[in-house]
Symmetry: C2
Subunit: 226 residues, 2 copies
């Protein structure tokens, strides 16, 4: 028997995030939203500046229901969006779904749409720790082996964050949805997308004897992107 | 000798699209923007509704400098964005770039950011033709084999478009940029992302004897996503 969700496990939904169609594909559950967010290496963050929309691709990382991203401290753009509403969307295309009619064509995918308010990390120590977690979130175990961060690098980097106020995930993972048209004589099925990493390319100047660390090798073999 | 660009080959840049940093990675040229746009299967479209940002993932297709996307005609959301400004961004992550310092970590990627105004296709015949081009843009040669579109399917689908008013592309495709730190004893290099399709999965109800069409087989073997 599945246990009912407590409200603590589900993001609230208002007009902006409420699932309107295809409820079967959507969820407001923390676990479902986090699963998509943590699997996506890239997100697309939407801001409104002077009334007009901007969407920038960026890497993101997460601590609980707080999401972080970063950018250049020299960016006028980043400074303008602090304390304004944000929509962070990330998507993985998992396959093309080819049906017998154009209308029933679809894609298999995982996506999450998050709403919050952009904040900037002001405290220097907090920023340094956030950047450590950024690196570790993509490449666990790597931070301690890196040349330590320098003060001017820390100054040159802005870290933004938002607490997730509302969020939805959507997932489609199925064959074409038109079995009633199986007599139409055209190929139907799914063409999956490869989501994964491939063989590491050492830097041209890498000193001999420095092997690919086991954790990076494991990431490549995992079939995941992060 | 390369010929200079005429203004007809370059999108205009204003405050919202002007390249501010890393000019070496960016371009306003039509050819560069179209190359990224046409390689990306998914885009993320940003709208402003009641002053707040929304980013939705969607498929897109292009005819010249006009970009199209579609959605459910029942979507209140789509109707609200007609005649409003749009930012369409698409990105392909091509690899993780691991340097000797956290600061010099990067990603190899291709991205394009387009600005325009959302319009809706009103004319039914024009909408039908746009949807044909949509299907053909992803799966050339497929349309003529499909069960023909029905009137109620056409009514249930909205097609939006925008003329590209301004656009930039950005590309990074290089090893780590810190050869001066090659003495730091940590692995550095690029871990490329697989961008491609994999073996087709026939629908469970596909009649025997319907083979995968050659053009789909070629797409899978191309290593491209579209």
């Amino acid at each position: 028997m599945s246990s009912p969700n407590s409200s603590a496990d589900v993001f609230p939904a208002t007009e902006r995030s409420r699932l309107r169609r295809r409820h079967d594909r959507g969820s407001h559950k923390h676990a479902d939203v986090f699963a998509v967010l943590d699997a996506c290496p890239l997100s697309h963050i939407g801001y409104t500046i002077d009334g007009a929309p901007y969407v920038t691709p960026t890497l993101h990382w997460r601590e609980g229901d707080r999401v972080y991203w970063h950018g250049s401290a020299a960016s006028r753009f980043l400074r303008k969006v602090v304390d304004t509403p944000v929509c962070l969307t990330c998507s993985l295309l998992d396959g093309y779904v080819l049906a017998r009619s154009a209308f029933n064509h679809s894609v298999n995918y995982r996506s999450a749409m998050l709403f919050g308010t952009a904040r900037i990390v002001e405290d220097v120590a907090e920023k340094a720790e956030a950047l450590r977690l950024f690196t570790e979130s993509y490449f666990p175990g790597r931070w301690e082996h890196l040349r330590p961060m320098q003060d001017q690098e820390l100054k040159a980097t802005s870290v933004l964050w938002m607490d997730i106020e509302e969020a939805t995930s959507k997932v489609r993972d199925a064959p074409p949805g038109d079995p009633e048209e199986a007599d139409v004589p055209v190929w139907a099925g799914v063409i999956p997308v490869r989501n994964g990493l491939t063989e590491a390319q050492p830097a041209p100047d890498l000193h001999g004897g420095i092997a690919l660390p086991a954790e990076l090798d494991a990431l490549i073999r995992s079939g995941r992107l992060r």
